[in-house]
Symmetry: C2
Subunit: 389 residues, 2 copies
């Protein structure tokens, strides 16, 4: 029986992880759980799974969580320090599935010798990739990529050492605006952008998928996770989301990771690694799928991807700035304050207004750089405000 902590337990990845845990009784014991602000959902999970500790990130929800767990004997706390305590709770494996830059501090806090940390939060690697990887190495932490694309690539990389890799390709569904004109994209509202064709995910990542910023962030994530230079990384549009990632070796062989578009598969892969667990995840049936299509991404209609690739190439603090500005802009878009193309515009102008510094060498440096970028992005919101329709 292996012990498992889930950071982001009430989110999309957290819930999918717990579904697998329930399907394999006797395989995992839940060590600790952390959630954002849904005290009711978190308390229900805690009463069911009986972890040693439960944390809620939102300090204002702490009293409600404590009330709901009263008499259960389950230790609990609220606020950032409680989430860190959950991350550091004794466990064999930690699933790091807190969305956004908020996941950085708890994920790094989860590092420890002999521990496996399954990383579902890409912002850690985008905003503080070099530091994050160095810290994992220093602490003897084994990182497992839980994002479907990176998980596919991780599996494909088994076929040969990284030294023999010629190119790594991440696929992108293209999102709901794959075939839309630039004009249609400019008029898209949150409801349009949240209608993802293949994946059921949280709001932030769904918007990032609509702008293709998500694929840009994933390229940066892959750059760090797999120690690959930017020129060995590329994205290809693949609307069916069946092939998630491909590794081309220097002999011309290509090894790819495939699965139905469902987080069930990469989560199961990480949970059982290096073994494989039997799952009820939906199976891929290529004859039924019938066809898979591919096209080069259009950087004109999807400027966010172009910006992310440039930030990866520039290195230093550029990806941190890109990520921070993007989070502010996505939130503004979801709140109806800016249009979809305003996201890339704000990110671009934030990058232009920021002197490129060194890559953040600590969590504090990353958070400071992120915070500066957010301030600039916020200040730009009025300039890109959506016209009332």
């Amino acid at each position: 029986m292996s012990s498992l902590t889930i950071l982001g337990a009430t989110g999309s990845v957290g819930r999918s992880t717990l579904k697998l845990v329930r399907e394999t009784p006797g395989r995992f014991r839940i060590a600790a759980l952390a959630g954002g602000r849904d005290a009711d959902a978190l308390a229900a999970l805690a009463r069911e799974l009986k972890p040693g500790f439960v944390a809620i990130a939102d300090p204002a929800s702490g009293a409600r969580l404590a009330d709901l767990l009263d008499g259960s004997g389950i230790a609990n706390g609220a606020g950032p320090s409680a989430v860190i305590a959950a991350a550091q709770w004794p466990a064999d494996m930690v699933v790091a599935a807190i969305s956004g830059i908020a996941g950085l501090v708890p994920t790094v806090a989860a590092f420890g010798a002999g521990r496996r940390v399954a990383v579902a939060n890409k912002e850690c690697l985008v905003a503080a990739g070099a530091f994050f990887m160095a810290e994992a190495k220093r602490t003897g932490t084994e990182l497992l990529p839980m994002d479907s694309e990176h998980n596919a690539i991780f599996q494909a990389l088994s076929a040969a050492p990284a030294a023999h890799v010629e190119k790594v390709t991440l696929t992108a569904s293209g999102g709901p605006f794959r075939t839309a004109t630039l004009d249609e994209i400019s008029r898209a509202g949150p409801q349009d952008a949240l209608r993802h064709p293949n994946w059921s995910m949280g709001a932030k990542i769904t918007i990032d998928s609509a702008t293709l910023m998500n694929k840009g962030l994933e390229l940066i994530e892959a750059h760090h996770l797999f120690s690959l230079p930017p020129e060995r990384l590329e994205a290809v549009i693949h609307p069916e989301s069946v092939i998630h990632g491909l590794v081309a070796f220097r002999d011309g062989s290509v090894v790819a990771g495939l699965a139905v578009p469902d987080m069930c598969v990469p989560i199961a892969h990480c949970l059982a690694y290096p073994e494989r667990m039997e799952t009820t995840c939906r199976r891929l049936d290529l004859a039924r799928v019938g066809r898979l299509t591919f096209e080069a991404p259009d950087l004109e209609r999807f400027p966010a991807l172009r910006l992310a690739i440039s930030a990866m190439e520039a290195g230093g603090s550029a990806p941190t700035v890109l990520n921070g500005a993007n989070e502010v802009a996505v939130a503004a878009f979801l709140a109806g304050r800016i249009g979809l193309l305003g996201i890339a515009a704000i990110v671009e102008e934030t990058l232009a207004q920021t002197a490129t510094g060194d890559a953040p060498a600590s969590v504090e440096a990353a958070m400071a750089c992120d915070s500066d970028a957010r301030a600039i992005a916020h200040s730009l919101l009025p300039k890109f405000a959506a016209k009332a329709s």
Copy 2:
């Protein structure tokens, strides 16, 4: 510098292997070469590559080979024993690329402790699979699959131990008659059947691809090579021949091997294994390929595949009989003596007329069983003779 022997040096796989050898000067030294009956081509290769020994299988071509090599100082011989001598010549690696059952004796003769044998001949594994695998194990020979499908699966299997495999899928192009009606197939002549859409190969395997017998033989080959029960193996039609094989693991993950349809890639993989060599093989560009399609095979129009699957399930001597009868029938089809559907009909009737025995436990037993099957198939040729058109 590693030493390499090529059995079937003047054939399609042999020539592609030598092309890679020439492209990587200093990497390989040619230990020995064996060819079928083209003394001129074999002598030219020998003068260029200066092997220690050259063998020609056809005894009648021995004098010509000796003449052509006169004064070169290169030892040479003719007939089956010379081919065996070439197979046993000191070498780090042997490429076993003699087509048909004729490859069995020399390939097994090439086995030896610490040797790598790259197997491009599928009939060895079909006609004597259990014995072949046991013999490789007993002699400490490492087998590398050079067939594109098995090579793809071999690479994909790096992602987890075989115990976690749920299903292995081999793709088939569907050949030139994929969309043909049964009536059209029944009227196809050798020139139609030799027009393979994707691969440039020898005549025997091209006809096998047109009937889908090739995929059936490959399923049997995979059954032995990867120690997988028949129910874990399947074929899917994939006209673009880009994905060559897929391994589905029990967690729902699928890892696949892809490449342009060119033997350059699997040959290069085997030659450098476990390293990877830089090659000039054409590279896969999915955005340019655009789309990949898949469909279930139609066992009505392609009865040869149905027969091969049944033979794999029946086990024992059935695959040996299937293979022997198929070789006779394909030769008769190429000679214009029977129609394309006559191939499966002869194989089916040969199987029906043969009592299923144990799997051949020696090369001699396999050759005897093969020979009996051939005699029966030959005797059936008049019954299925093509009507003069």
